[in-house]
Each structure stands twice: as C-alpha cells, then as structure tokens.
C-alpha cells in the first residue's frame, strides 16, 4: 500500500515533468519551411497553427493529465497508452498538413522540417514511454499501428516535401551506397579487431607478461582523440603505399577507407580485449579449483568451465565495440572514406541541416537495429542458467 503511493508519487513527478515539456514545446517554433535546401528558414509556432492542429497536439497532454487523476490503475494505464500513441501520431499529422500548406506556394524546391518545438514535444512523449517500467504488448501494438499509419501517410505523398526525405530522394542510389559502405567499414573493422583482440585477451589472461604490455598500450590508444588517430595514420600509410605500390592496388593508401578501417579496429580493440579479459578473469577461482580437484585436465577446464562461462561476456564486448564503431565510422569521411559520415560532413559543408539530420538519423537507426540484433544473438547464446540469473 505504502509502496503503491510512493510509486504513484514518483509517477506523478514524471507526468508533471512531461506536462512541463509539453508546455515549453508550445512556446517554441513547431515547424519551419524553406524555399530551397539552404535558404533562410521560416518558422511557425504551435499557437499560430489554427484550432484543429492545436487540438490534435493537446490530445496527448490532456489524456495523460486525466490518467494521472484516475484511481483505477488499469484504466489509467490504458489512457497512458492512448496518450503515448497520439503523442507520436498527432505531431506527424500536424507536421505533414501544416507543412504541406506552408510550402504549397513557395515553389518546386520548397520543403518543411520539424523545428525545436516538435523536438521538445517528442521528448515529452518519450518520457511517457520511459515512464512505463516494462513496455506492455499493448504499447508495442499501438506504436506499431502508428508507424504503419505514418508509413501509409508517406506512401500517399503526405511527407513528399519533408526536408530529410527530399534530401534522401535527391541522393538516390548514393544513399544506399553510403549506408552499405558504413556497414561494410564497420563490419570489416570489427572483424579485424575480433581476430586480433580476442586471442590477445586470451594470451593476456594466461600470461602475466603479455598483460603488463597490453593494457598500458590499450589505455593510451583509448585516450587518443578519434580524429587525431585518423590523421596520425595518413602519413605512415601514405609512405607505405608509396614504398609498396602493390598495396595501393588493394586500396591501402594514406587516405580513403583503409586508414579509417585501421583506426576503427584499433579503437574497437579496447572493448573487445577488456571484455574478453574481464569475462575470463572474472570466473570464480573456486569453480576452477573445484574443476581441477575433480580431475579435469587443462583442456577440459577450458572446454567445460572457462569458455562456456566467458562466452556471454565476450559477446557483450563485441556488441559494445559494434555500437562504438558504427558511431565512429562517421569520422571516416574526414580522411576520404565512405559511409554515412559523407552525408553529415557534406551537409555541414553545404549548411544543409536536413542532410546532416538524415545522416544522423540513419546512423542512430543503424546503431539501434544492430544493437537489438546482437542482443538477440547474445540471448540465443546465453545458457539457460545465466539468463535466469540476469532477471
């Protein structure tokens, strides 16, 4: 009972904060339009949107406010699901309707995009989602339906003039190329750092001398800023490719993807070696002693005890490295590499906010998706006993 009240209070604090953010969002420009991709933007605040859009936008905060006052917990939960769903759907709808109206008489290159108000609004909505301790299937279904609706709206052309989609269309096949390049650069770097890092971690675990050498180097490597490491590699690789022209045929030269991949794999070494080493050394010494005591030879101790117990930790290290590399791969563009960094840095160069945003969103999406996929993989590999332990 007491705990219920406490929970309720904590919840109400979150609701209050969300409502505050909703309020703030109404004071900020909600969306903006431009005559072309780099011209001055024309912002529109939520108050000037007209009664229909305002009502639509008010739906989520009002419903969540009501839910906070309903004593029946089940109904309150249902209302919060509704609020969260509308919290995503309404701004999208308002964005497309008002945006299309705004750009209607601005010419063929005109576009609209969300402005700060809408971002704050979505932040408030995200609090509604984070508030729930565990996402219920109902919330997932609602979110899925909203996504379907949004995609449907896209298909009938309601988002045709949305800035980032315009940008994506302009890029055409180049967009796909950069996405694939990003994935490839990340994948190759990760593979290299796994092939090098995991054996090094095992060696470090077995041999004290190796440990003494590896970890200081790793720590220094980790403190070099990313861009500096990328830059540092230009000179030696350029020299190498000059000396051995064969290397150039393989794509190894001072600038381009090769130095990017080398730098990225060096960065990924840290989490991979750290996690692998920690999951090996973290195994309870008493368990190993017991295994020895019952007459396992060292091969059997590795096979039956150490490897099964370390696998999950090693996979987690790879996952951390993957997420980190996906982000860092953005920097590849700085030394002439490919990948989504191209969009970000070209966009910055051309002062095209939409292009930068497109690049960023794609990187985030890639990261989230691959993280999820990897987590799934880890779950498959985790022995039943250890899964239960985590819960």
């Amino acid at each position: 009972m007491n705990r219920n009240i406490l929970q309720r209070r904590a919840l109400d604090k979150q609701v209050a904060f969300a409502l505050f953010l909703f309020l703030v969002s109404f004071t900020l420009p909600f969306l903006q339009s431009r005559e072309n991709r780099i011209s001055e933007e024309f912002t529109v605040s939520a108050f000037s949107l007209g009664i229909g859009p305002i009502l639509l936008l008010l739906l989520a905060p009002l419903v969540i406010l009501t839910s906070a006052f309903i004593p029946n917990r089940k109904r309150a939960a249902l209302l919060s699901t509704v609020a969260a769903a509308f919290g995503i759907f309404s701004p999208l709808l308002v964005l497309s309707i008002v945006g299309n109206a705004l750009v209607a008489d601005l010419g063929a290159f005109a576009r609209y995009s969300p402005a700060s108000g809408m971002y704050v609004y979505l932040a408030a909505v995200s609090i509604l989602y984070l508030m729930k301790q565990k996402a219920q299937s109902r919330d997932k279904v609602a979110l899925f339906l909203v996504m379907l609706l949004a995609i449907g709206m896209g298909f009938i052309g309601m988002f045709d003039r949305l800035g980032i989609l315009l940008e994506a269309r302009n890029l055409g096949t180049r967009l796909w190329r950069e996405i694939l390049a990003h994935v490839r650069i990340t994948g190759v770097s990760l593979l290299i750092s796994m092939v090098i890092g995991i054996p090094i971690a095992f060696l470090a675990f077995i041999n004290k001398a190796v440990r003494r050498v590896v970890f200081p180097i790793l720590n220094v490597l980790q403190t070099i800023p990313g861009i500096a490491l990328f830059g540092l590699l230009i000179a030696p690789l350029a020299a190498l490719s000059m000396a051995f022209p064969v290397l150039r045929e393989w794509g190894i030269q001072g600038i381009g993807n090769a130095p990017a991949i080398i730098a990225l794999s060096m960065y990924a070494l840290y989490p991979i070696i750290r996690y692998t080493y920690t999951s090996l050394s973290g195994i309870d010494e008493q368990v190993v002693l017991a295994a020895k005591g019952m007459g396992m030879n060292s091969t059997q101790i590795w096979k039956i005890v150490r490897l099964p117990l370390a696998t999950v930790g090693i996979l987690h290290g790879i996952r951390v490295a993957l997420v980190q590399t996906l982000g860092n791969a953005t920097l590849a563009k700085l030394i002439g590499g490919d990948g989504l960094g191209v969009l970000v840095f070209e966009g910055l160069g051309q002062a095209s906010v939409d292009m930068v945003l497109l690049g960023m969103l794609l990187i985030i999406a890639l990261t989230v998706i691959s993280d999820r996929l990897f987590q799934f993989l880890i779950n498959v590999f985790t022995p039943a006993s250890l899964i239960r332990e985590e819960r």
Partner: protein, 369 residues
C-alpha cells in the same frame, strides 16, 4: 633420524603417508614439516582453528598445491610419479567453497566426474537421483535447478553428491556440512555413518565442529598453526589430551563428548520385554526395574512402561523423537532417556522395528570406564 610418528590405527593399512611436508604461500608458511599417516578405509578427521592448514593439507593430498618440501606417498608410490588428473579422479573432493559450475544444472554438476571418466550414459541419470536422495535433496525438485537457485546448505549437499559422483574409493571432504542447520547436519552425519559402514571408503574429513569430529572420526588429527599437535583415535585423545591446547579445544564437557563415540547398536540390550498389549503383572512385576515396550503388528514401539515408586508409568514413544536409531550416539540416547523420563530408550532399526533398548546404567558404565 627420528621422525615424529603419531600412533596409527592397528587394524588397517596406511593409505597415504606424508613425510615432513611443508607448504609456503609467499610469506605465510601454511604447513610446517607435517608428518601424517592416513589409514585405509577409515574416516580421518582434520580439525583445528581457522587458518591452521586443514584445507591446505587436503589440497596437498590431491596435488592441488605444490609441496615446498617433503614427500607424500600412496602405498609405495610417490605422488610425484603419478598423473595428477588420474589421481584426482580416484578422489571425490567436496571443496570448502562448494564451487558448483554456475552454468550447469544440479544434475549436470553431480554427473560431471562420471562424464569425465566417460561412463556409459545410460543409468547415469538414475545414479544422480540416488545421490541426491542420499544428501536429502528431492531429485524431482532439485535435479534441474541451477546453483544460483540453491541455498548455501543445498549447494553444499550438491557438492557432496558431486564428490560421490563416480563412487571414488577416497573422499576428501572440506567442511561439507558447514552451512546446514544443526538438525539437517545431524541427519547428514547419520547418513554419512550409515554409508561409511557399508562402503568403507578412505575418507579425509575437515571440520570446525569438535562434536562432528568426535562422532565421525576413526582417526582424529588435531592441527594448530600448520602443525599436527596430536593424531590418534578419538577415544585416546579424549582420555589423554596431549597438551593444554588440545584440552581447551576439546572443551570442558569431554566426558559427555566421549558418549558420542559409542553408537546405540553396540551398547543396547537386545532381549527386551515387548508385546502387542500393555504389560501384565506376570510379564512386568511390580518390583521389576525393567522397561516394557508395547508394539504394533509391525513390531514398531508405541508405548514404554515402567514401575516407578509403585506406580506404572507409561510414555508414548511412537515418534522419531522418542526413539533412537541403531547408529545414534550414546549422547543422543542419553538426551532421549532424559526427555522421556524412563530409565531406558527404545532402539529402532532403519525400518522402525524395535531393535533393543539402551539403559541408563550402560551409559553410567561407559562414562566411568
């Protein structure tokens, strides 16, 4: 050169002999020139204050720690000439910290050594069930649990089952019942004695608990700061402790402890007065000093009768608290006699049938002897 020999059991051979073994961990000297002989097919109990080197001694025996000096020999063979893994597989080892494999179920843990030895798969599951029953864990409930789902005492018992896994001739048990409650501990000790009587393994058992030590030991080794202070039969040690340390270690109730050395079946009288009905005057005359046991059709005792001060006193005895087992210690017998208020306690066998009675006079005789 004169070695510091300790007395050894005369009725059995020497399984293992440690000559002047020392173990150093860096600065600390865990064992200092220990001399020890372990009798074959008997229970040797190592006891002593924390940190005196009991666990280290066990680890020397299965070659888990390297000797700094000295020799351990098994029969005629020196440990240095044996394959360590082969040696360890002949010795069940219940390690002090239990050390169950966290990623394996209880069943897989118990089954580990048979698996290592490459035993036929069929029958192994059944064997696991038997072993779990032996340590008083219901196989149906515990078989598929994982170590983190067990209490400390349950994990410890799984550890013991695992040590017994491949039916090794030698058992090294490092405080195997340290984390269980007194009641279960006593049951496990009973069970241990029962099994040991049948199987006659060579057991080296480490404990902190002097009562447990006296109860289980055929040969008791008292250690202190990496040295063996006294090693002999518990009777000998109880009747003539070597020095102050041993005496203090045994505690003030030495004579009471001596009672734990004797089990009911060795001291009980098997010709008892019993019958399906209550006692008639002819069977149990008013001047008799004996007990009469009323039993059911299965010869299980129901009531005890006795003339006290001209009055026929009767006590209901049909619960396990009011009778003693054949392998119960005389100390337990005395507790039962006192709580019943009869001058004797009924002894029942494994099936609960009346086996005999333990009389108070017998206990008196033992304690003055």
């Amino acid at each position: 050169m004169q070695l510091p020999f300790h007395p050894i059991l005369s009725d059995t051979s020497i399984f293992l002999q440690a000559e002047r073994i020392s173990v150093r961990y860096g600065e600390t000297e865990a064992l200092k020139e220990v001399f020890l002989q372990i009798p074959t097919n008997r229970v040797t109990v190592l006891i002593g204050p924390s940190g005196c080197g009991k666990s280290t001694t066990l680890r020397c025996i299965n070659a888990l720690v390297k000797l700094s000096s000295g020799v351990i020999s098994y029969g005629d063979e020196s440990i240095q000439n044996m394959s360590e893994t082969q040696l360890r597989r002949t010795m069940g080892y219940a390690i002090q910290s239990v050390g169950l494999m966290p990623h394996l179920s209880v069943e897989e843990n118990v089954d580990l050594v048979p698996r290592l030895l490459g035993w036929e798969r069929s029958g192994r599951g059944e064997r696991v069930g038997r072993l779990l029953n032996l340590v008083r864990l219901e196989p149906g409930i515990y078989r598929n649990k994982y170590p983190h789902e067990l209490s400390g005492g349950e994990a410890q018992r799984v550890g013991v089952a695992r040590a017994l896994g491949a039916d090794p001739p030698v058992l090294l048990m490092d405080e195997p019942f340290g984390a269980v409650d007194p009641l279960t501990r006593e049951q496990l000790q009973d069970e241990f004695i029962r099994i040991q009587r049948q199987l006659k393994k060579t057991v080296i058992f480490v404990t902190h608990d002097i009562d447990e030590a006296i109860r289980l030991a055929d040969y008791l080794v008292i250690m202190k700061e990496g040295e063996v202070v006294q090693a002999d039969t518990p009777e000998k040690i109880l009747s003539s402790p070597q020095d102050d340390f041993v005496e203090r270690f045994l505690g003030p109730d030495r004579s009471l402890k001596r009672l734990s050395l004797f089990t009911a079946d060795h001291c009980c009288i098997q010709e008892v007065l019993s019958g399906l009905e209550g006692p008639s005057k002819s069977v149990l005359p008013e001047d008799s000093t004996r007990c009469y046991w009323q039993v059911d059709e299965g010869n299980r005792p129901l009531k005890g009768f006795m003339w006290i001060n001209g009055r026929l006193v009767s006590r209901v005895v049909h619960s396990v608290n009011h009778t003693v087992q054949t392998y119960s210690s005389m100390r337990e017998c005395m507790a039962t006699i006192l709580s019943l208020g009869l001058p004797a306690a009924a002894v029942v066998d494994d099936e609960g049938h009346l086996f005999g009675e333990v009389r108070f006079e017998t206990i008196q005789t033992i304690s003055v002897s």
